[in-house]
């Protein structure tokens, strides 16, 4: 189905043609690869990993430290996506020999005598991944922090009496006890990251094929090229990808959500 052109004059029921076409469409497969890379590095490794680490580090610290660090991290989560995008593009602005004023990062680099870079043009994927980690870590951290609170102190004390080091108590006590929270967190951030659009669109507009997420590809097909049917087919696949990953998490972690 299309809104303009031949397809609009004589709409036809094409059955699964759109889906068959999608899997032969190099650009879609590219966007699938980009989305999965973005998901693994920014959400699973970045947000969940860093969030857990921060939650562990903030346990039993003094209240002042906790609230200041917490406020900084949560601030990144509170601001709207579009604003976050502009903050990052201002932060990364400038480049070698550019006549424009350098952004904060390039200013810091030249203060230390390091070469400037056009960050968003030279390493777009790395930059959007870092931006998304910055943005989403707070959510995971809050979730893990509350799960950690619920672990009875006696268990940890008992294990340390039994001679368990920090890794052993993490591996055998903390992680199994917060399994439910891990499952919930992975599920929520996976779905959020797969459907992420704004942050990456503001930073690169998907202009570099290396940052063209499935959502951006779908948006372009549906609203730039007016191929509504094809765009909808891609949207269904994004949902399917999210559903499959959710099932995998619940299976691996054996949690009932």
């Amino acid at each position: 189905m299309a809104l303009t052109g031949v397809g609009a004059d004589t709409p036809q029921f094409v059955g699964f043609d759109n889906f068959v076409h999608i899997f032969r469409d190099g650009e879609f497969l590219n966007s699938l690869r980009v989305s999965l890379t973005y998901l693994v590095f920014s959400a699973l490794i970045g947000q969940a990993g860093l969030g857990l680490l921060l939650a562990l580090l903030m346990r039993r610290r003094n209240i002042v430290f906790k609230s200041i660090l917490g406020a900084i991290i949560v601030a990144a989560w509170v601001i709207p996506d579009v604003v976050a995008g502009f903050v990052w593009s201002a932060f990364l602005a400038g480049g070698p020999q550019s006549v424009l004023d350098p952004g904060l990062l390039n200013t810091i680099f030249s203060t230390f005598g390091l070469p400037r870079h056009a960050w968003l043009q030279e390493a777009p994927m790395t930059m959007v991944v870092i931006a998304n980690i910055w943005r989403g870590t707070a959510f995971s951290m809050l979730l893990y922090a509350s799960a950690l609170e619920s672990i009875p102190q006696e268990l940890l004390e008992a294990s340390s009496i039994d001679g368990a080091n920090i890794w052993a108590s993490l591996r055998y006590i903390i992680l199994p006890l917060i399994r439910g929270a891990i499952g919930t967190d992975l599920l929520l951030i996976t779905l959020a990251t797969l459907s992420d659009f704004t942050l990456v669109y503001v930073l690169t507009a998907g202009s570099n094929v290396n940052t063209e997420l499935m959502t951006i590809y779908q948006y372009r097909q549906a609203f730039q090229f007016y191929q509504i049917g094809y765009g909808s087919a891609i949207a269904l696949l994004i949902i399917a990808a999210g559903a499959i990953l959710s099932l995998i998490y619940t299976r691996i972690l054996r949690v009932d959500l």
Partner: protein, 457 residues
């Protein structure tokens, strides 16, 4: 009494729905009963903060038309949406049974909507309207022509040319009445500026995927249309996926963005989606850019009510026509876009709809609109309006309309345009023009089909 079961409840719900139908009908439109005045609905986009020039224009047109034709009522239907959503809404309305009669569309999308069967050919009306044949530039008649039928009347247009900063030219020892006669002369001026005026970007040519259509139209097509080759062969309806002109144009881009002797802006500017604003609001007013191949609308940015007021712009910025590759006839090249009003194919009152268009497009009404919107007039006699010719550079731009060209407005174009941007970006990143062109050629074949493409030597 029995308690109502689920089925009786369902039944009464359905019965209630049926009762509501006449009520809904009562709210409907009853003006199509043949007698009395005919209402002609005019749909156009309205977005952002006022002033709304379309509205002003159509309000004065409405007063005039309704006074002269007691049988016609004009109803304005501003569609409040950004450009993308405007077309989505408009296309949905055009395929409904009660479409607006007169619609405004980007001339460039007329082709797609003709293919979709939304628009009615206007030739039988236009042939009987002497003003149209005499006053609309041939190029402005051709731009709305699709499969040799005319589907619209242009309300204004734009052209592209070379803007240059006379102060920088003076410093570089170049003439301030500069008019290059070939591509080589543009590049040599840029090289001179690079050597003599440090800290200035010698030239800007929009290029690469982030700038999207600006790269294709202000950048690549201004080059390609100045070669012997073209993008679309209208004779046999095939896309030209490979040609010498295409390669030469890519090589021009390559020279502008050659990192060892960079003439264009650095990557952080050129490959960002905000390059257009950076150029018009920062680089040019701050005197950091010498040559800019850009649109006629640039001056509007620097006027007192524009986004970056810059009082000195009229003295600082010179204009030159874009030359063809080696100065071949017609010596200069430019491209135009612009919007047109068309009649919906499903409109039941096409005669009256045309009457409305004809009256609204009278010299004084359209002229006022073009002056307010900073648009280049598609009607030759508007130039004789003193307010129009007093606008800075407008006589210059209007003279370009005579030989202007336009983009092939077919459904495949937006996708092919992205492929052109991508080929430009590849040569910017060091790929050879040959490789970039063969990648382009493959993509066009998969978009348009290999039977709809051809290669020129």
């Amino acid at each position: 009494m029995k308690k109502p079961t689920r089925s009786t409840r369902l039944f009464s719900f359905i019965a209630l729905l049926f009762c509501l139908v006449p009520l809904l009908q009562a709210c409907g439109d009853t003006s199509t009963n043949g007698k009395g005045p005919v209402t002609i609905t005019v749909a156009y986009q309205q977005f952002g903060p006022p002033p709304y020039h379309e509205e002003e224009w159509w309000k004065s047109a409405k007063t005039k038309i309704e006074a002269a034709n007691p049988n016609i009522k004009v109803k304005l239907m501003p569609i409040i949406a950004d450009e993308g959503s405007y077309y989505t809404k408009l296309d949905l309305m055009l395929r409904s049974n009660n479409p607006p009669d007169v619609v405004r569309e980007d001339s460039f999308l007329v082709g797609s909507d003709v293919t979709a069967g939304y628009l009615a050919p206007m030739d039988s009306y236009l042939d009987k309207w002497p003003d149209y044949k005499a006053q609309w530039f041939d190029s402005m008649q051709k731009i709305t022509t699709f499969n040799s039928k005319n589907y619209g009347v242009m309300d204004g247009t734009d052209v592209r040319a070379i803007w240059f900063n006379k102060d920088i030219f003076k410093k570089a020892g170049l003439p301030t009445d500069w008019q290059p006669k070939s591509w080589a002369e543009i590049l040599s001026a840029a090289h001179t500026i690079k050597n003599k005026v440090p800290g200035v970007i010698p030239m800007n040519l929009y290029s690469g995927v982030p700038m999207d259509e600006a790269s294709t139209m202000q950048g690549f097509e201004m080059l390609l249309y100045g070669t012997k080759d073209t993008l679309y062969n209208y004779q046999n309806s095939k896309w030209v996926s490979s040609s010498k002109g295409f390669k030469d144009a890519l090589n021009f881009v390559k020279e502008v963005y050659n990192p060892s002797a960079l003439l264009g802006p650095t990557n952080d500017i050129a490959l960002s989606t905000t390059a257009g604003n950076t150029v018009s609001q920062q680089l040019i007013p701050q005197g950091k850019l010498a040559i800019d191949i850009d649109g006629s609308w640039m001056g509007g940015t620097w006027e007192p009510n524009g986004s970056t007021p810059w009082p000195q712009w009229k003295d600082t910025m010179g204009l030159a026509k874009m030359p063809t590759q080696n100065g071949e006839d017609p010596k200069y090249v430019t491209l135009s876009g612009g919007w047109a009003y068309s009649i919906a194919a499903r409109s039941p009152h096409k005669d009256q709809a045309f009457e409305v268009i004809k009256n609204a497009f009278a010299k004084d009404l359209l002229g006022k609109y073009d002056i307010q919107t900073n648009g280049i007039a598609p009607r030759k006699d508007i130039v004789s309006l003193p307010e129009y010719s007093a606008l800075p550079n407008f006589p210059f731009f209007t003279q370009l309309v005579d030989f202007t060209q336009f983009r092939p407005g077919f459904p495949a174009y937006p996708k092919i345009s992205v492929q052109i941007d991508s080929a430009m970006q590849q040569v910017m990143n060091g790929k050879s023009a040959d490789d970039a062109m063969s990648a382009f050629s493959q993509s066009v074949e998969s978009i348009a089909g290999s039977d709809k493409t051809e290669k020129h030597p």
